[in-house]
């Protein structure tokens, strides 16, 4: 059977034009997706998790019911549980996770914390001038990629949205656009650029600041190895384009300056709107990290790093963010869902997860499940069950189901745990 218009549940592009062929309940082919999409669908049944509990320091197989019972017990008795992950699942599961966090008076954080958390903090400081990806496809004549590498991380972004795509006012596609890539190294994306601005690592803030000053007519001279003339040239291109867009990624959020880099970039684009039309969009990684933020926002007012220990939501990255809670050893239990902190957090932060009862809910085995107390397998979202995901530009799309799951969905598991916690 061939499933059409399938949505790829890997990255924030949420390409929704995949064709997936399923035979005898197995994915046998995919069309149009990138290599990662292909890998995701083709390998969806590999290395799948089983329900397990740790007994005498060994993970042993149990029924899923037993695993959920134990999970509920752990969360119910915890004084400060942490719920973390959520970016690789759908919105109903994210809703249930938020409800659970509220119920057990815990801290809930999603992977934005270690990707675009700094972006969200900066939006709260200065606002943001953004647009959906179609606006870029239809209008952008200047496209800037700063500290992001769609050529490796968002493989069809150029094609579908930002560079090669043709639109209403960009009928010539690539020819209608000037592409500038700013990065510390040559990479898959820089090859495509009309201008590659190679900068020193950790000099983003200085260079964005210089551009901002240049746009306002101030002289700044050479900055961090970039010549005065180059800064003026880029500034002029920005001011004189008809519709510009700046895409940025973790090259800004993770390097020195973090949210202040974004603050500067958001301000740069905001200021440019005094001269022309300009937007700035973040390149979100996991396919529904944007949804994790959206759900948490509408339920609590805050996008990530939310704490419920007082019965109402409070927000503070640095205080309620997972890395910090773990580093300071402030939580006494953890539920990890749809993420793998052991493979993404600084090792020293992960260590605490191995010391406390940790529950892992995931379709696949992960590094974190290897240190877990409880492992609960679930259906793979967007492959084995439906649900909503928010694209990197916050457009919600319904994920499709192409094969039957063996285990219940994240949502069902979480709702079951909620019932068990309430019953206890």
């Amino acid at each position: 059977m061939i499933h059409e218009h399938v949505v790829c549940p890997f990255c924030g592009c949420l390409c929704d034009d995949l064709e997936v062929t399923v035979e005898d309940g197995k994915v046998v082919n995919t069309k149009r997706g990138c290599i990662i999409a292909k890998s995701k669908f083709m390998n969806h049944d590999r290395d799948r998790a089983k329900p397990m509990l740790r007994k005498d320091d060994e993970l042993i197989g149990v029924s899923i019911e037993e695993a959920m019972d134990r999970a509920a017990e752990i969360l119910r008795s915890a004084d400060h549980p942490l719920i973390y992950g959520l970016s690789s699942t759908e919105c109903d599961a994210q809703r249930a996770a938020t409800e659970l966090a509220e119920l057990v008076g815990g801290t809930i954080d999603n992977t934005a914390s270690v990707c675009h958390g700094p972006t969200l903090v900066s939006v709260q400081a200065v606002g943001v001038v953004k647009c959906t990806l179609g606006e870029i496809k239809n209008r952008a004549d200047l496209v800037i990629f700063w500290g992001c590498n769609p050529g490796e991380a968002h493989l069809r972004h150029f094609l579908r949205y930002s560079v090669l795509s043709k639109g209403l006012f960009t009928q010539e596609g690539r020819k209608d656009r000037t592409v500038i890539v700013v990065d510390v190294r040559e990479n898959a994306s820089t090859k495509l650029a009309d201008i590659f601005l190679k900068i020193r690592p950790n000099s983003d803030f200085e260079i964005i600041s210089a551009l901002r000053a240049a746009i306002k007519g101030h002289e700044v001279g050479d900055v961090a190895g970039v010549a005065d003339g180059t800064i003026k040239e880029v500034a002029e291109k920005m001011k004189s384009c008809k519709f510009g867009v700046l895409f940025f990624g973790l090259g800004l959020t993770m390097s020195k300056g973090k949210h202040m880099n974004i603050d500067a970039a958001l301000s740069l684009v905001r200021d440019l709107n005094d001269y022309t039309k300009f937007a700035i969009n973040s390149m979100r990684g996991h396919f529904n990290v944007a949804g994790a933020n959206e759900v948490l926002i509408w339920q609590t007012g805050y996008p990530y790093s939310v704490n419920f220990s007082r019965g109402y939501p409070r927000y503070n990255p640095g205080e309620f963010s997972a890395v910090d809670v773990l580093s300071r050893k402030e939580c006494d239990a953890a539920l990890i869902i749809a993420a793998d902190p052991l493979s993404s957090f600084p090792l020293r932060a992960s260590e605490h997860l191995a010391k406390i009862p940790t529950i892992v809910i995931d379709p696949k085995n992960s590094m974190t499940s290897l240190v877990a107390e409880v492992v609960i397998p679930t259906a793979m979202v967007g492959v084995e069950c439906e649900g909503t995901a928010y694209r990197m530009d916050c457009i919600p799309i319904r994920l499709r189901k192409v094969v039957e799951p063996e285990f219940p969905s994240d949502k069902e598991v979480l709702e079951e745990i909620i019932e068990k916690v309430k019953a206890g």
Binding site: D79, H80, Q124, E206, A213, H218, V223, N316
Partner: protein, 264 residues
């Protein structure tokens, strides 16, 4: 009043009730604190002695206790050990003294009073909470050790004096007030500041969006430093009579902030 911690775990405790105004007004034994997600009484976590004295002394380490002295209006708190996050946040008056270190957000959105930390302070000293327009609005914070990133972020008035080093982005988005650093200042000091004064007694790396104006002996600073001597800060005569390079910025924003760098 003396409070002696009885707890051991690292679980965060929130105790904004540790504030002389509240302790004087309310029945102490019933005051609520949070230990993780559990509501507890102050007396569950602290031994409470010498109830009659109004000043509060905490004998022991309360590095995991948050919001001590938050919103306080008067009186004095002395902490013998370390203090947790949000120490004296939004405080309006009174004094807090910490013998050890303090966590992040010391004196965040403070409106008055004095906080003095003998050890080091964390990040965002005197800053605005996320999304807020304005950080510290008045009062004084003195850190005898080092302080972290983004101190004085969005401060509008008041004084922050750091005797040791500060990390990056001191005075980011600053709108007024004065930051003095007797140690070394980190990178990107004054980033995106609109107004306000940052005084560096040692050379520092400036952003390209700060421009040099002049070298002079600012009269207001003489006044300011002489006033601050009352707080036992290491202000030498040369600091008062010396010359300073004046840089204005951040040109990305209003550009009316200044960094004064002491030249001796």
């Amino acid at each position: 009043m003396i409070l002696r911690p009885k707890f051991k775990a690292k679980m965060p405790i929130e105790a904004e009730c540790i504030s002389p105004d509240i302790l004087a007004e309310k029945r102490i034994e019933n005051l609520e604190v949070y230990h993780g997600n559990k509501r507890r009484k102050l007396s569950d976590l602290f031994e409470i002695l010498d109830v009659k004295t109004k000043d509060v002394r905490i004998e022991g380490d309360v590095g995991n206790v948050k919001y001590i002295g938050a919103k306080m209006r008067s009186g004095k708190i002395i902490i013998d050990g370390n203090a947790g996050m949000h120490l004296g946040s939004e405080m309006e008056g009174g004094e807090i003294f910490v013998e050890g270190d303090a966590g992040d957000w010391v004196g965040a959105e403070m409106r008055g009073g004095l906080i003095r930390i003998k050890g080091n302070a964390g990040n965002l000293v005197g800053a605005a909470y996320r999304g807020s327009k304005v950080g510290m609005r008045q009062g004084m914070i003195i850190v005898e050790g080092d302080a972290g990133h983004e101190i004085g972020e969005r401060m509008k008035r008041g004084i922050i004096a750091i005797l040791g080093d500060v990390a990056s982005f001191a005075g980011a988005h600053m709108k007024g007030g004065t930051i003095l650093c007797f140690g070394n200042m980190g990178e990107r000091t004054g980033a995106e500041m609109d107004r306000g004064t940052i005084i560096a007694f040692n050379p520092l790396q400036l952003l390209p969006t700060f421009h040099y104006n002049a070298t002079y002996n600012p009269v207001f600073l003489r006044f300011c430093l002489r006033e601050l001597r009352k707080y036992d800060l290491p202000i030498a005569d040369e600091h008062i009579t010396g010359r300073y390079e004046r840089y204005n910025g951040d040109l990305t924003e209003l550009g009316k902030g200044e960094i004064l760098v002491w030249k001796g």
